[in-house]
């Protein structure tokens, strides 16, 4: 993938994450008062299509954003460049997508 394409994906996913993280931080700050329980989390997310859609979008954006950022760190600080690094980052993206979609489903279907 070209540097220009990676840049576009990174900045576009950042824009999505900016909104998602603001919502997420607000939710966290409110939810954590008086202690956090499964009942409280699931009471909000279980069977709620809006939250599911939100978390799915959140996961996809994060799965794009984090590996591209990590790739820059590995190239510049660990000297790991080339195809093997790109493949590793693609695998990391797949991992985040998989685990993230699973987590979003877990709190929806509980």
């Amino acid at each position: 993938m070209s540097a220009a394409r990676l840049f576009l994906l990174q900045r576009a996913s950042a824009a999505v994450l900016a909104v998602a993280v603001l919502v997420h931080l607000a939710t966290i700050l409110l939810a954590v008062r008086g202690g956090l329980t499964a009942g409280e989390i699931l009471g909000r997310t279980a069977g709620n299509l809006a939250w599911l859609a939100f978390y799915l979008l959140f996961v996809v954006a994060a799965a794009i954003h984090a590996p591209i950022g990590l790739r820059a760190i590995l190239r510049e600080w660990a000297g790991w460049r080339g195809r093997s690094c790109d493949v590793a980052m693609a695998l990391f993206a797949a991992l985040l997508l998989l685990l993230g979609l699973r987590a979003a489903w877990a709190v929806y279907a509980a």
């Binding site: 540097a3 220009a4 840049f7 576009l8 820059a72 190239r75």
Partner: protein, 238 residues
């Protein structure tokens, strides 16, 4: 305040040898005055560069107490508040000897970034009319005063971490040409700055802008290149 400066100067090419000199302090002394005193009075084998000595040519650039700067425009009383100076050659460039670096790789990257003007084929016989206040020309003018001194290149950590990175000066120059309506090499130029070693490697640390002796902002120029490449890509050209 003591009447001598304690000056440590890099010698040779290894990065390991530093020679110490005690240099008499003088009022309004610049670091260039100090280096010149050392070469004339203490050690004639010291190699260093300078030319205009009045802040116009950029030849005297070197690392002074860890910062890349022009020695002719660096006052001792500002740079060496505790009376000690460490002088090293510019970072990120091969050392020729002592305080002298080989600027060839720096300028090679200017060429690689297509920082060279090529006239458009369809300009015709008349002068090109370029209003100075037009947005493109204003953008070019804001970046065009670069004299290729190498300070930004030396300050840049991405150059240090990614040796192929074209660097702030080369990209800044390309930006002025991207905004030059008389230039016909835009396709090749955008391809050059959009390479793996191009503008997208910049993380906007801003060390280049922080250290530029002409108060230019390569950070802003490189951001402009990122936008130009994006626009071209979205239009299907890149």
């Amino acid at each position: 305040m003591s009447d001598t400066l304690s000056v440590s100067v890099h010698r040779g090419t290894s990065g390991a040898r530093f020679d110490r000199f005690e240099v008499p302090r003088l009022p309004a002394q610049t670091v260039l005055d100090v280096v010149t005193w050392i070469q004339r009075e203490a050690d004639p084998t010291l190699a260093y560069r300078f030319a205009c000595r009045v802040g116009m040519c950029g030849s005297c650039a070197m690392t002074v107490n860890g910062r890349p700067r022009w020695t002719c425009r660096t006052r001792v009383e500002t740079a060496a508040r505790d009376g000690r100076l460490t002088l090293e050659p510019l970072r990120n460039l091969p050392v020729v000897k002592d305080l002298v670096v080989d600027m060839a790789p720096f300028f090679a990257k200017w060429v690689k970034a297509e920082g060279v003007f090529t006239p458009r084929a369809d300009l015709g016989a008349d002068f090109a009319v370029v209003p100075p206040a037009s947005p493109a020309r204003a953008a070019a003018d804001a970046a065009v005063e670069c004299i290729g001194c190498g300070v930004c290149y030396s300050a840049c950590d991405v150059v240090a971490w990614q040796p192929g990175y074209l660097g702030p000066a080369a990209l800044n120059r390309s930006w002025t040409l991207v905004n030059d309506v008389r230039d016909g090499g835009q396709v090749a130029r955008l391809a050059a700055v959009a390479s793996d070693a191009g503008c997208h490697a910049c993380h906007s640390h801003g060390s280049c802008t922080q250290h530029c002796p002409k108060a230019l902002s390569p950070t802003a120029s490189i951001a402009g290149l990122k936008r130009a490449v994006l626009r071209a890509a979205l239009r299907g050209e890149a």
